[in-house]
Symmetry: C2
Subunit: 475 residues, 2 copies
Amino acid sequence: MLKTADHLYLQVADNIEQLIEKEVMKIGEKLPSVRMLSRQQGISMTTAFQAYYHLEAKGLIESRPKSGYYIRFNTRRMPPMPDTCQPVKKASEATVNDMVMEVFNHMNREDILKFSVATPPVQILPAAKMSKAVIHAMRQLHAGGIGYEPLQGNELLRGQIARIALSWGSTFTADDVITTSGCMDALTLCLAATTQPGDTIAVESPAYYGALQLAESLNLKVLEVPTHPVTGVDLDYLDKAIPRHKIRACLFSTNFNNPMGACVPDKNKKELVSIIVKHDIALIEDDIYGDLYFGKERPANCKTFDKHGHVLLCNSFSKTLAPGYRVGWTMPGKYKEKVLLLKQNHSIACSSLPQAAVGHFLEIGRYEHHLRNLRKIMHTQCLRYSQAISEYFPDTSRISRPQGGCVLWIELEDHVNTFELFQQALKHKISICPGRIFSLQNRYNNCFRLSFGNPWSKSIDEGLKTLGKLIRKIS
Amino acid sequence: MLKTADHLYLQVADNIEQLIEKEVMKIGEKLPSVRMLSRQQGISMTTAFQAYYHLEAKGLIESRPKSGYYIRFNTRRMPPMPDTCQPVKKASEATVNDMVMEVFNHMNREDILKFSVATPPVQILPAAKMSKAVIHAMRQLHAGGIGYEPLQGNELLRGQIARIALSWGSTFTADDVITTSGCMDALTLCLAATTQPGDTIAVESPAYYGALQLAESLNLKVLEVPTHPVTGVDLDYLDKAIPRHKIRACLFSTNFNNPMGACVPDKNKKELVSIIVKHDIALIEDDIYGDLYFGKERPANCKTFDKHGHVLLCNSFSKTLAPGYRVGWTMPGKYKEKVLLLKQNHSIACSSLPQAAVGHFLEIGRYEHHLRNLRKIMHTQCLRYSQAISEYFPDTSRISRPQGGCVLWIELEDHVNTFELFQQALKHKISICPGRIFSLQNRYNNCFRLSFGNPWSKSIDEGLKTLGKLIRKIS
């Protein structure tokens, strides 16, 4: 939740942003001076300055020395958005494993500009604070945490997760939560708990490649559901597809999905839950980007509207605190016993220290403060990257408008092959995620995913310029 | 490896132990004085004293004040060993999940005497040293370890594991090792990499219940192979069963298996590997108790004899350093790429800090020293527990003779139901593992597993006495 002081400068900045977007104020136009703004709005000089500073950081306005602030960028001038995709109406059994392995082969090379990684980089995550939390955890835990933690997971952490759930208006308790080794482990357990080999599941299209690979490893067939870049899965389509394809579970990322950035509106979330309940199937809801919203409030999740336990909510702290700690969790609703049993069968327990450390970090109340900063950084980077892309990439490019998360989805002309772009870019020590890995249907060959996690810098700017040139070269 | 000084007193103690066992020296007989022993054997007084001290700790001799050392216990006077079991010749699909859940329900209750847990308790593991290693790891790792570690696992740790392999005479490199979240995770990945749902695997009988549960969760059928309490699986039986039951993989614990304690002789290990190679199937070798040997040398594992990569060796540091850290590993031979892919699909990476901490602990060379102490403690406890059981339990009881690990397998008269014993014992705040959970065939109802991990104490002694009384009561 934002404090009042924050609210004020953000409100002012927001108003100006809307004026820019509606082209009431045009590119190149001079803005009122800080003093003038303060008088006009009845706010302090500091607040007025903060508002301009915020807009400048977002790349929307610029200050010219000894002259004042000018409008620099209008998000409406951005390239158009991608369309809703039309995947084949058939469950698939193809594989993207080889291509994913090739794309992430260079993960540990330091010399590569990684536009391919959908996680904020460690330099904007609280490394020193997490180390302190680990030391605290070692002091608190019996025998320094070398013993097994309870099967369901660290109790402090589960309690804190229940408190977080309060902030999206839900009343869950520690007993509703099972901790996991990251979100991927949560998705694995939940998918295994709700399906049998040979079953069909529904995913978004384009879908997170990890979900496609997971389904394959569990011997599941996959139906890709048309997905709007802003509002998410097509619910009418889904409603009809569930009985037709005997869908046993849906695996959707409802907030700022990867790679498109869609955020399912509350109304649609409610409707999605009622469809799931009507057909009596499971919804595995991946909410891993939910805390990285750019707007004023955290979007809800389907779990909030789930009265009968059909939703298995999955999340982690990998996008916000420490990806390497592998601290994730699930609220598996009525599938709790099955998920617990699978957790016992496959890993006995999570690693005790990282779980306790995250629990402690949440307990001392630093999480919301940290998130507020992280969200500002990510929003600013999103706009900066988008602006550069609209400048450097061909005019025919389309680009997503995520309101959270950390990736952009870029659609090029039909004939451009982004796997070739990936290979060419790698020669320039730049990595991207070619669109092909986000579907089992040999689709999205002209799209790619670009992460805006890395803080803006000269080399990022150069990298995007190079990508633009390469796209023109192979077009 | 033992140092020479160690060797000497252990050699002397060992010789005396053999004389006791062969009844050359009988219970109640007086041993030579320390001075006399020193003169006879041409050893120092200190070494002579150490030898007696060692035998006393094992419960084999006792010192009587102002009189000297007397023989107290003869392991040959112990109850007989259990027989090789004769499981049904048919792959099973039953489940032991409910009973396992019931047995381990009380895991986190402090007030229970846990003879049910097959792990050395934290008080004999190096908690403080591990905490130091974690702090060191946080200093060494980039950004304190909050970033993802490489998919294959921490490089330092993998290198150190390769060094350990040298000590069993194998030449593996860090590149042959994949780290996992404990041994159970390694078994899960390896079993998933070598089978398809519906396949049949072979396990020992009795088998570790976790292996049975894992097989069920992966939709595998299970053939239980007759297993000798000393030499392990019946290889002739296995050789015929593989083609007959279309076995796709074997999951065996070759050293001090759980629950029987069998240690497959080297000759049989070689033969087992050749059977596996002949039928071109996989052997998942669980060597988790291999480091807890009581003899002079670590037993080999099948991996040592594996020239073609058919063996997937799995292990962890959960029985020797820190169960709660969940640091395990596998050397999956020719299945490496498949296992890596599954690791990526199911969890992306392990938790970075615990892996780096264990790597550091191994690097500074404290592991072998720690193990030497731990093994002495466990061996002594094994003998103490066995002695008490032979004293307190009915004469008709049979008891295993493990040469390593941390559990005893006890067979009672046919009509005694150990699940009832489990329930009765729980009322006295004592927990055991009823034999029924070690098979899918409704067998071993008259057996149970008893861990000797907890250091000998008055309450352990009382606990075993109570168990003996309860057995008589329900017999």
